[in-house]
C-alpha cells in the first residue's frame, strides 16, 4: 500500500482530502512537522492564504524536506495555494516569499466574479475533457511548466508539472471521479501525456 503524507498547513480541515486519498487504496498520514517515516507521495493541501501557509511551512522546516523529496523524485501534489507556494510569491500576501521552484507568481486575475467558484473544463493534453472544481481568487497566469489551462475572464494556468511534482489550481479532492483520477496519477508519479510519453 502506498503511504501518502499530507502536510498539515494548519489552514483548514483535511477530512475530504484524506478520505479522497484513502478511497484510492493509499494510506494517508497527516503531519504538522516532518518525521523520519518514508513516504511514497506528498500532498500539500489547498486551504488558507498564501502568507499563512508559507509561514507554517517555514516554521516547521518543510521547505528543506520538500527540496529533499524533490531530489529523490518522490511524487508530490500541490493543491490550489499548495501549488502557488512553489512559485515566487502571490499578490495575496506580497511580503511572503514562495519556494521559487517555478518562476512567476499568483496574481489577482481578470475574473468576472471573485472568487471563481465552480466546475470548469481543462484544456490539457494530459487530462483531456476533465471537468474539475475551482475555488480561487488568485492564480498563476502562465508558466513554462503548465500542463493544463482553463478560461475564466482570461486564460490561466490550471496545472503545472516538473519531474515528480504536480501542482493543480483546482481541488481534485472535490472534483468527484475526475479528481480522483488526477490524485491517483499524480501520487503514482505516472502523469503522462495522452500519447503515453512521460513528461
Amino acid at each position: 500500500m502506498k503511504k501518502i503524507l499530507i502536510i498539515d498547513t494548519k489552514a483548514g480541515n483535511l477530512f475530504s482530502l484524506k478520505a479522497a486519498i484513502e478511497r484510492l487504496g493509499f494510506s494517508a498520514t497527516i503531519l504538522a512537522a516532518p518525521d523520519d517515516n518514508v513516504f511514497d507521495g506528498i500532498v500539500i493541501p489547498g486551504q488558507g492564504r498564501f502568507g499563512t501557509v508559507m509561514k507554517n511551512l517555514n516554521a516547521n522546516q518543510w521547505p528543506d524536506y520538500l527540496q529533499q523529496a524533490k531530489t529523490k523524485n518522490i511524487p508530490m501534489l500541490g493543491i490550489c495555494v499548495g501549488m502557488q507556494i512553489f512559485f515566487e510569491g502571490s499578490d495575496e500576501d506580497p511580503e511572503a516569499v514562495g519556494l521559487g521552484w517555478f518562476s512567476g507568481k499568483a496574481q489577482k486575475l481578470n475574473f468576472p466574479k471573485k472568487p471563481m467558484v465552480g466546475w470548469a473544463k481543462l484544456d490539457s493534453n494530459i487530462w483531456p475533457q476533465s471537468i474539475v472544481y475551482f475555488v480561487n481568487s488568485y492564480a498563476v497566469k502562465q508558466s513554462e511548466h503548465s500542463i493544463a489551462t482553463t478560461f475564466y475572464g482570461e486564460q490561466f494556468c490550471a496545472a503545472v508539472k516538473q519531474n515528480s511534482f504536480v501542482g493543480v489550481q483546482f481541488h481534485p479532492e472535490k472534483s468527484s471521479e475526475a479528481g480522483a483520477q488526477i490524485i491517483a496519477q499524480a501520487l503514482s508519479g505516472n502523469t503522462a501525456r495522452s500519447n503515453g510519453d512521460l513528461i
Partner: protein, 259 residues
Amino acid sequence: MSIQEANQNSLMPRVIVCLDVDNGRVVKGTNFKQMRDMGDPVELALAYENQGADELVFLDISASNENRPTALKLVTDIAKNLSIPFTVGGGLKKLDDVKAFLDAGADKVALNTTAILKPDIINQTAMAYGSQCVVVAIDVNKDSDGKLGVYINGGRQLVENEFFSWCNEVADRGTGEILLTAMHKDGTGSGFDTELTQQVSKNVPVQVIASGGAKTEQHYLDAFTHNADACLAAGMFHSGDYTVGQVKEYLAKAGLIVR
C-alpha cells in the same frame, strides 16, 4: 444572455441539490407539522453526487444546540464520503458555530439570519477561512406592489435592509456567493425569478445561486440564460420527478456546456 454568452467562460452552470436535515435524517416538510423522513444524509448525498449534482446544500443541520455533536459528526461523515463540495446552513449563530462546522469538514457555511443580525460575521469568516467558505443566503419577497423585502428567521420576519444594498453589502463584506431565494416563487413551481436573479448577478460581483420555484428542466435553462451562476432546488429532485442528470441533459441539448 444568450447560450453563447453563457458558454464564454470555462466555468459551468451548477445544479445544486438542497437537503433539509433534522436530527440526523433528511426530511421533507409536507406542512408545518409533518415531516417525512427521506433517508440517511450520507446515502442520499452520494446518490445525488452519482446523478451528477455539482454541489449539495444541507440546511438546518445545525438548528438546535442539543444536537450539535451529532450534527458535527454527520458533517464529518459527509466530508469523508462525498467528493463534491457541500454547504451547511441554518442555526449558525456565532463565529464559533461557523468555525465548528468548517472544521468538521463543511466546505462552506450559509448565513442568513445571523448575517443580518451580526453582519461582521461575514467579514470574520472570510478573513479566517476565505471568501470561498461563505455563502450569504438572502430570502427576498416581492409583494403585490412589486416591492422587495428581505426576510429572516425562515421567512417569518421582515427586516429593514434594502434588498439591493444588502446584496452589495454582503459582497463588500467578503461573501463568496449569494444564495438568492425568491420567497414569492418558492413552492409555486412557476420557475426561478429570472429577472431578479439577472439584476443581482449582473450588478453584484459574486456568484449568484438562484433558488425558489423550480419545477421543470426549462426553469433551469431560463435561469442560466438570465445570468444565474448556479440553481438550487429540493422538491423536484426529492420527489423523483427529475434526476439531476435529466436536467443537465436538457441543458446540454439546449447548447449549454454542463458537467
